[in-house]
């Protein structure tokens, strides 16, 4: 019996451990990931067990981390990079967008670029600025990268392993405010594929799309809607780039209505792309335009205001109602 309740953070830790055991080329790199085990303890104990050569406390320089990860990947290693917080990935943006994303294409497929960039993302933990951002759209707009987000411990465990084993560079978003949430994890189950969305709650009237931290919010909204007699279907996108449109379109064709939820600012957030694709594919089936519930188009506010800023159950419900009113 291999099932036990673990937190999302612990599941990631277990997944990383498994990936390191399975493949000696897997290395972890980042700031404070060694003795400290990372500020969220996701790498706890790994340096002790795998040594300083495989769990590398790097200098405090994100471009340096990604740039050296590129060199290690060229040499056949599989670096898994931890960015300490979402807001600190930008110094590495050039290396990610111009090098990590492009080297496979530039080398006509000759340079392996198996890099996983782990980013704890999103708000809701009462942090100071730069610690609560949702930069996924920046990466999803970048050809050459793949982008995924886990929402629960079971996915966290499997997806991190799948991401590490995958040949393409992947930006792996972790919902930081869900690190401490628990679920039963069966480490001997057969995982779902990495680049697949999942129907997490069936419903008939409105499809709600979410990923990462917002999946739970969407599910809560669906429960609340049920009490009001509204049947909401919820999909956990899991993969942000490429989008897995099959299940999304199937659901929207059933319900005729769709609401997309994410913490990132609305303007040019994932909701925009989903709206455009769904509308193009389901033009005659849609009963209402795809509606978006996102962060406002302002810098992430001081934490006393984050509850006002972040999409919550009520804002999702409000959008569901608006959709139904069309």
């Amino acid at each position: 019996m291999s099932t036990s309740p673990v937190t999302l953070g612990k599941a990631l830790n277990m997944g990383l451990r498994k990936a390191m055991e399975d493949d000696a080329k897997v290395l972890l790199m980042g700031e404070d990931i060694g003795k400290l085990g990372g500020v969220f303890r996701v790498t706890d104990g790994l340096q002790k067990d795998f040594g300083e050569d495989r769990v590398i406390d790097t200098p405090l320089a994100e471009s340096g981390i990604l740039g050296t990860a590129v060199g290690l990947a060229m040499r056949g290693f599989r670096p898994v990079v931890e960015i300490q917080f979402d807001g600190f990935v930008y110094p590495a943006y050039d290396q990610i967008v111009c090098q990590v994303a492009k080297l496979h294409a530039r080398s006509r497929g000759r340079l392996p670029m198996s890099i996983v960039i782990r980013i704890p993302f999103g708000g809701g933990i009462g942090a100071v600025e730069h610690h609560s951002e949702s930069p996924e759209a920046y990466f999803a707009h970048t050809a050459g990268l793949k982008v995924v987000a886990c929402s629960n411990p079971v996915d966290a465990y499997w997806m991190i392993q799948q991401a590490i084993a995958h040949p393409d560079p992947i930006v792996f978003f972790e919902p930081k405010r869900r690190y401490w949430e628990k679920a039963e994890l069966d480490t001997e189950a057969t995982p779902e594929p990495l680049f697949a969305s999942r129907l997490v709650r069936e419903g008939s009237q409105v499809t709600v799309l979410a990923y990462g931290p917002m999946v739970k919010t969407a599910l809560q909204a669906a429960s609340a809607a049920e009490e009001e007699g509204i049947s909401v279907e919820v999909l956990d996108l899991r993969t942000i780039s490429p989008l897995d449109m099959g299940p999304v379109l199937a659901s929207v064709r059933r319900t005729g209505r769709c609401v997309v939820v994410h913490e990132a600012p609305s303007n040019l957030g994932l909701g925009a792309e989903l709206s455009a694709r769904i509308t193009e594919a389901c033009f005659y089936e849609l009963e209402a335009p795809v509606l978006r519930v996102g962060g406002y188009d302002t810098p992430y506010p001081p934490s006393k205001l984050e509850e006002d800023y972040l999409p919550d159950l009520d804002r999702v419900l409000e959008a569901v109602d608006r959709s139904l009113a069309f």
Partner: protein, 395 residues
């Protein structure tokens, strides 16, 4: 803010920045590489035991009142820090970044500033903020999650706290380039940590400052750690020597000696103001507390290390000097203690009474000229909020 005294002014030591000497040896490959193990001497004017010592290059001559004022600064900022840590533990602050152990580095640097100078802090320069007349409650507001720093950075000549490591060093250089271009008489003082020296931005700041001879002093508080990572993860050689690779002077000062820090920073600022460009000061000190209240230093450092540094405590040291030299008596220390407690009480009550920010403020300052799109979001938000309060009032 009535608690904060005026900066102490003094005549400046003669300018130490003469023509540079090139120490190239005959063996080119070893010309200027330091040994990785050797620790260089640091400028010290006060031993850990509080004995006043002379230094061949740096001297300082302060009246008893001036030394007392420095002691008062150190004591008060530590007291505020302790209070803020307690407030965080009690759930009043989201997080707190303690300056414990770094008071002398910050007060020495902060008191070296003249009114026209501009300071660029990280997130830990509560002592420098104090010297610039910033109400500690403004600092606390940031850690409480009310704002990103409510002081006026232009008025107070103290820029906003900057959390993205190293970014502010370039702002300091740019601001200094501005000083070169207008009637500016001042210099900039850019703060950063040992870990920050690894960031590209900090090195680019060195380059821009050197190339443009910008009036800026780089003040690195080497508190031995970047969160959990010891200094060896950032450099092979003492940090102050980084400057030599960029062609400007670097110096290491005992960061727990407020007199030495004051003397060294004054001189570097004066050099910057008089057109000699940048200096890098490495204030060698120790973070006696956790990185922030979220951190657990027991995971990465030994208690014995802390014990060793306790003997170098910056406040005990100045106190010993004041006592030893007869420049202050028990009554003085009692008065400071009382003032500290009063200040702490004010900070505590001020924190508890601090109003939450108005939600609509998040829309208001995104732009100087708000966009129609954001106006719409704001109005929708306000209507949505009003809907709730309607509900509330109807319920």
């Amino acid at each position: 803010m009535s608690e904060v005294p005026e900066p102490v002014h003094h005549g400046f030591e003669p300018n130490p920045f003469g023509p540079h000497h090139d120490p190239i040896s005959s063996d080119p490959i070893h010309a200027d590489v330091a040994s990785p193990v050797e620790q260089p001497e640091l400028v010290q004017l006060l031993t850990p035991e509080g004995e006043r010592v002379e230094h061949p290059d740096y001297s300082i001559d302060l009246s008893a009142e001036e030394v007392q004022a420095l002691y008062r600064d150190l004591a008060l900022v530590r007291r505020v820090d302790v209070e803020a840590t307690a407030l965080q533990r009690q759930g009043e602050l989201g997080i707190w970044a303690s300056l414990l152990g770094q008071e002398a580095a910050q007060i020495g640097a902060g008191r070296a500033l003249l009114p026209d100078d501009m300071a660029f802090p990280t997130y830990r320069e509560h002592g420098v903020a104090w010297c610039r007349g910033i109400d500690p409650l403004s600092i606390i507001g940031l850690f409480r999650g009310c704002d990103s720093g409510s002081w006026d950075p232009i008025e107070s000549k103290f820029s906003l706290y900057t959390i993205v490591i190293g970014a502010q060093t370039l702002h300091a250089v740019g601001y200094a380039m501005g000083m070169q271009r207008d009637e500016g008489q001042g210099a900039c003082l850019a703060f950063f940590g040992d870990g920050a020296t690894s960031q590209g931005d900090v090195n680019e700041a060195f380059i821009f400052a050197a190339v443009f001879d910008a009036p800026v002093v780089f003040f690195c508080q080497n508190n031995q750690y970047a969160i959990s990572e010891p200094i060896e993860k950032q450099t092979r050689i003492p940090l102050y020597r980084r400057a030599s690779g960029f062609g400007f002077p670097g110096i290491r000062v005992d960061g727990n000696d407020v007199l030495a820090v004051l003397a060294v920073t004054r001189r570097a600022l004066e050099a910057a103001r008089s057109g000699q460009g940048p200096t890098l000061i490495e204030a060698y000190t120790y973070r006696m507390g956790a990185h922030t209240t979220s951190d657990d230093p027991s995971r990465y450092r030994l208690a014995s290390e802390m014990e060793a540094w306790k003997l170098k405590d910056p406040i005990e040291r100045l106190k010993a000097y004041l006592v030893r030299s007869g420049q202050a008596d028990a009554a003085f220390f009692d008065a400071i203690q009382a003032e500290s407690d009063e200040l702490a009480a004010r900070v505590r009550s001020g924190t508890m009474e601090m109003p939450d920010p108005d939600p609509v403020s998040m829309f208001e300052n995104t732009y100087a000229e708000i966009t129609p799109y954001l106006e719409e979001q704001r109005d929708t938000f306000l209507a949505y909020q009003a809907g709730f309060s309607d509900q509330d009032s109807h319920a």
